[in-house]
């Protein structure tokens, strides 16, 4: 059956340059991560600790959010809640209008991607500029990120060189990565200095102290949260942790899992706007807490694990399917294995349910997940919800049920619980194997790349009966 996603996947597989770029970066990231966890026992203990920290925070989520809000407000940070992305966008717009601002400079934020913030603000006459190098590349190319951590990973330096040259004709054409980065530095510096509002994402929110932590290498997050007079941070509600002590273990496993670094260049911990007598920093700091389906996911104890994600990207780096099709083929904000479980839950199985088929359940994602999210188990669960007859909390449940497929499984099951019938069918298949071979040869999805397995003349049941193996 050809479907929207299968068509998209096939198209992605035909894009050899994107595949090469993706594979090359993914292989580097895998190598870096491996080198960052040289000691298996240490990895296990770090992972166990991080898993417990996230599980603890998730189990106390409503209480921690209230504590976080109280402490942020005490510190002078304004807290806004948004049930939907529309509400979150509107909140940003209101803040912009309050400050009479028509331009916003953005640090890297997947939540702002989830909100579709740039498009929304553009329609309201506000200009957005991405300042993370990868995000800037994506914005200049009018594309979407193909990876959570390395948004432009599908592009190689030549493509970026051409892009920069077409967008900044004054800069001489160069394929030198350092020169490209310097061009971006020069272009953005003026904007950092003049932007009235900066927006960033958040990696961890600390309930105990009312602190927002941003983790990055470039300094764009620091710039956006420091240079403009107003800073808006956007975060999913699940990013809260209980206390300061929870940060070092999560930080250490996050950066190692993501890029193999023991720590990023900058860890930026924001607890308040500019204090009296301070000479810089924003005078207003806002935090927008976005739900967008998270509290619904939270209601199910099995699906809730999805919310423990710390967005390191290791699952996609190690996913053979992501490696082959790249991030864009998923047509989601977050691609790869975590996107495969997150996006259908957020946006509905009716539109994204088929994504759950984009997995062999090989388990590579779970193996590297720093907080032990059982991704294959949740994929399995969502496949069930996609085709189940009764409704459940996930929107679009049952939308993937096809009559023919359901009947095939019914017949298969009947056959498997009636050994007499099962043995007759397998026996007939093997005894008429020339005919069976010809039928099998017509299963084109299989035979496009593979020879058909030749049926033997007798089944195992028959052979063991002949050998008089005890049948209890």
């Amino acid at each position: 059956m050809t479907t929207k996603f299968r068509t998209q996947f096939a198209k992605a597989l035909a894009q050899h340059e994107v595949r090469n770029n993706t594979e090359s970066v993914v292989n580097k990231l895998r190598k870096h991560r491996l080198a960052a966890f040289p000691d298996q026992a240490e990895w296990i203990s770090m992972r166990r600790h991080s898993t417990a920290i996230r599980a603890n925070a998730t189990s106390k989520l409503p209480q921690l959010l209230e504590q976080l809000e109280t402490n942020l407000q005490r510190n002078g940070i304004q807290v806004h809640w948004a049930d939907t992305t529309e509400q979150a966008n509107q909140t940003v717009l209101n803040i912009m209008r309050f400050h009479d601002a028509r331009f916003i400079i953005k640090g890297k934020s997947m939540v702002s991607e989830e909100m579709g913030l740039n498009d929304f603000l553009n329609t309201h006459g506000i200009e957005c500029l991405e300042s993370d190098l990868g995000e800037l590349i994506i914005q200049l190319a009018a594309e979407k990120p193909s990876h959570m951590i390395v948004p432009a990973l599908h592009k190689n330096r030549k493509q970026i060189a051409r892009l920069f040259h077409s967008q900044f004709p004054s800069i001489p054409y160069t394929e030198d990565i350092s020169a490209l980065a310097q061009a971006a530095r020069r272009f953005l510096r003026h904007h950092f200095a003049t932007a009235p509002v900066g927006l960033t994402g958040v990696n961890f929110m600390i309930a105990e102290t009312g602190t927002l932590c941003l983790v990055e290498n470039e300094g764009n997050g620091r710039m956006c949260s420091t240079a403009p007079p107003v800073h808006i941070a956007v975060s999913g509600i699940e990013k809260v942790v209980e206390c300061l002590d929870d940060v070092p273990p999560l930080l250490g496993i996050l950066t190692r899992s993501a890029t193999g670094q023991p720590i990023t260049t900058y860890v930026n911990m924001i607890s308040s706007p500019r204090k009296p007598n301070e000479k810089d920093g924003p005078t207003a700091v806002h935090l927008i807490l976005l739900d967008n389906g998270r509290s619904r996911i939270y209601s199910d104890p099995e699906l809730r694990d999805t919310l423990n994600c710390i967005r390191c990207g290791a699952c996609m780096n190690h996913c053979p399917i992501y490696k082959h099709i790249g991030g864009h083929a998923y047509q989601t904000v977050i691609p790869g294995p975590i996107g495969t479980i997150l996006e259908p839950q957020k946006n509905g199985l009716d539109s994204y349910g088929e994504l759950t088929q984009a997995s062999t359940l090989c388990g590579a994602c779970q193996e590297v997940c720093p907080v032990s999210i059982p991704i294959p188990k949740i994929i399995n669960r969502l496949r069930w919800e996609h085709i189940r007859k009764s409704s459940c909390s996930t929107p679009g449940a049952g939308s993937g049920r096809r009559k023919t497929e359901a009947i095939i499984w019914k017949i298969w099951a009947w056959n498997c619980i009636h050994p007499g019938a099962y043995n007759r069918i397998t026996s007939v298949a093997t005894s008429m194997r020339r005919l069976a071979d010809r039928i099998l040869a017509k299963i084109s999805p299989w035979t496009a790349a593979r020879a058909v397995p030749r049926l033997p003349d007798t089944t195992l049941h028959e052979r063991l009966k002949a050998l008089k193996i005890d049948n209890e």
Partner: protein, 256 residues
């Protein structure tokens, strides 16, 4: 997944064989060789003829009612407190890891814990419990190995195939590049997402071709059928064979 067995136990006299549907229909000689290998170690094998499939295809496709019905039919066939041997990590993993989830809240949930604890993947059983000592009688050869994802990440027994092959003096074992990466079979995945599956199996087949081996050995017939089929389609000289068949063929004296 951290699974520790309640009892590793001493060497048993009798075991059940769970032959798996794929071996039953497509690779019966792997099942027969399994029986030979076990019997040579003095283990009596019981093969309940009413067995069919573990239910994994339906389970992985979201058809839980159908999976449950099929699994329940198997559950009843292995009542004695003796090990259940499956010459497939995928089917062993289904019983060991997924049956307890599948039966959660069902009246017969408790019996899945017992069965889950007794099921062994063949190479795991040969090395850990029987501690087999193999003598190679075959000609020198080079083989490439492919451990399934379930052997690697669900049953944690991926290295047993290596331990067994390394006992064979005349066998040179080569691990292909990217050995830990999935071959793209994934059961119904290969049919539902054939384009991605093809891309994955072609890469895997190439890595195996690059080893220059004569044969491809694995403990799961799904992967073997997938990779072997791709190799054959490309007219590769590398044939594929299940570890049980390979071990038996090289270590028993042919009766004239």
């Amino acid at each position: 997944m951290d699974f520790t067995r309640a009892s590793a136990g001493p060497k048993p006299n009798t075991v059940y064989l769970f032959g798996t549907c794929l071996i039953d229909l497509l690779y019966p000689q792997a099942g027969v060789s399994t029986v030979h290998l076990l019997e040579r170690e003095g283990v009596n094998v019981i093969f309940p003829q009413a067995q069919t499939c573990c239910g994994q295809p339906a389970w992985n496709s979201g058809y839980r009612d159908e999976a449950l019905a099929v699994a329940r039919a198997q559950l009843k066939l292995f009542p004695r407190p003796i090990p259940i041997i499956a010459p497939s990590a995928s089917c062993a993993g289904m019983i060991r890891v997924h049956y307890p989830t599948l039966f959660k809240g069902e009246p017969d949930e408790a019996s899945t814990f017992d069965v889950a604890d007794r099921v062994y993947e063949l190479t795991e059983f040969l090395t850990d419990i029987l501690k087999v000592d193999l003598t190679d009688l075959g000609e020198p050869t080079t083989v490439a190995t492919h451990s399934s994802c379930t052997a690697r990440r669900e049953m944690n027994v991926a290295d047993r195939i290596d331990l067994l092959l390394d006992q064979l003096q005349n066998v040179t074992r080569i691990e292909p590049d990217n050995a830990e990466e999935c071959c793209g079979f994934g059961g119904t995945f290969a049919i539902k997402q054939p384009e991605i599956s093809t891309a994955m199996v072609l890469e895997k087949a190439k890595a195996i071709e690059n080893t220059g081996a004569q044969q491809l050995i694995g403990q799961d017939c799904g992967c073997l059928m997938n990779i072997g089929g791709a190799l054959k389609k490309q007219d590769s000289q590398i044939s594929h064979v299940h570890i049980a068949e390979f071990l038996w063929d090289r270590t028993h004296k042919a009766t004239p």
